[in-house]
């Protein structure tokens, strides 16, 4: 079993790149791997508490909660990216950490595989 670090850097809420990251994490954890998940830039909002489910947006909160419960999934949001968007610590969804970018780099140190999901 290995460790996969996924970074979602500028993937949008509303695109399916973020969904890809979460679904890949889910599939990896199911197979017994460990996953670290980092979001920054426009992916930041994935970690916001109180997202309302609409049929036009994928709603990933439930999957994330299940992933946290496995103990094999860590997720952290870029602190500065969140603050710049006016989204503060109290609004963070349960389970998520808030750290600076060096957390992501440190996570890659012990990772067997690293996938950075960039793009628009």
């Amino acid at each position: 079993m290995g460790k996969l670090t996924i970074g979602c850097f500028s993937s949008l809420v509303g695109s399916v790149s973020l969904d890809f990251g979460v679904k890949l994490a889910e599939a990896a954890v199911k197979k017994g791997h460990e996953v670290d998940f980092w979001v920054s830039s426009n992916a930041t909002m994935l970690s916001k508490k109180g997202q309302k489910a609409f049929k036009d947006y994928s709603h990933l909160a439930k999957t994330l909660t299940e992933l946290f419960a496995t103990g094999k999934f860590k997720a952290v949001v870029c602190e500065a990216c969140a603050e710049a968007r006016g989204y503060h610590k109290d609004d963070t969804m349960e389970g998520w950490g808030r750290r600076s970018m060096d957390w992501y780099l440190a996570s890659t140190f012990s990772a067997d595989r690293v996938l950075l999901i960039g793009g628009d």
Binding site: F9, S100, D102, L105, A106, T108, V114
Partner: protein, 137 residues
């Protein structure tokens, strides 16, 4: 006691998306990564510009004046100031008809000693082979 190498390959134009900016800010974050690691362990970033990405390296970017945001020029200089390894693909620079003189090759004006390197693509390919993990922006 180990050092892991991490490549940040920048292929995107600046400003439209945050891709190139995020590559540099994350590469720079390697300066403080040790707080999360065991004694003696470290992360060594290499930044390479290829394709349209080389247009991030143009001098005289006035993004702060017009949009109030740090320019990619400033981020490149910060990277050099912190002695990060920065490589720019020569074939792409040539394709755009640019000369070394158009590019940010050093951070001397802010007291930096490390220089960026203008290298053939084959050198960047070598970096990709050497590093532990690859990331494309």
């Amino acid at each position: 006691m180990a050092t892991k190498k991490l490549a940040f390959i920048i292929r995107s134009l600046p400003y439209k998306t945050e891709a190139s900016r995020l590559a540099l800010t994350h590469a720079i974050a390697s300066q403080t990564v040790e707080i999360y690691l065991e004694e003696g362990d470290n992360i060594e970033p290499v930044v390479c510009f290829i394709g349209d990405g080389v247009l991030n390296c143009l001098k005289s970017q006035q993004a702060m004046k017009h949009y109030g945001i740090t320019s990619l020029e400033q981020h490149m200089k910060n990277s050099l100031l912190l002695d990060l390894k920065v490589m720019i693909c020569k074939e792409d620079v040539d394709r755009f008809g640019l000369k070394e003189d158009h590019l940010i090759m050093d951070a001397e004006d802010v007291g930096g000693e490390t220089k960026a390197q203008l290298v053939p693509y084959s050198e960047i390919q070598k970096v990709m082979e050497e590093v532990d993990h690859l990331q494309f922006f």
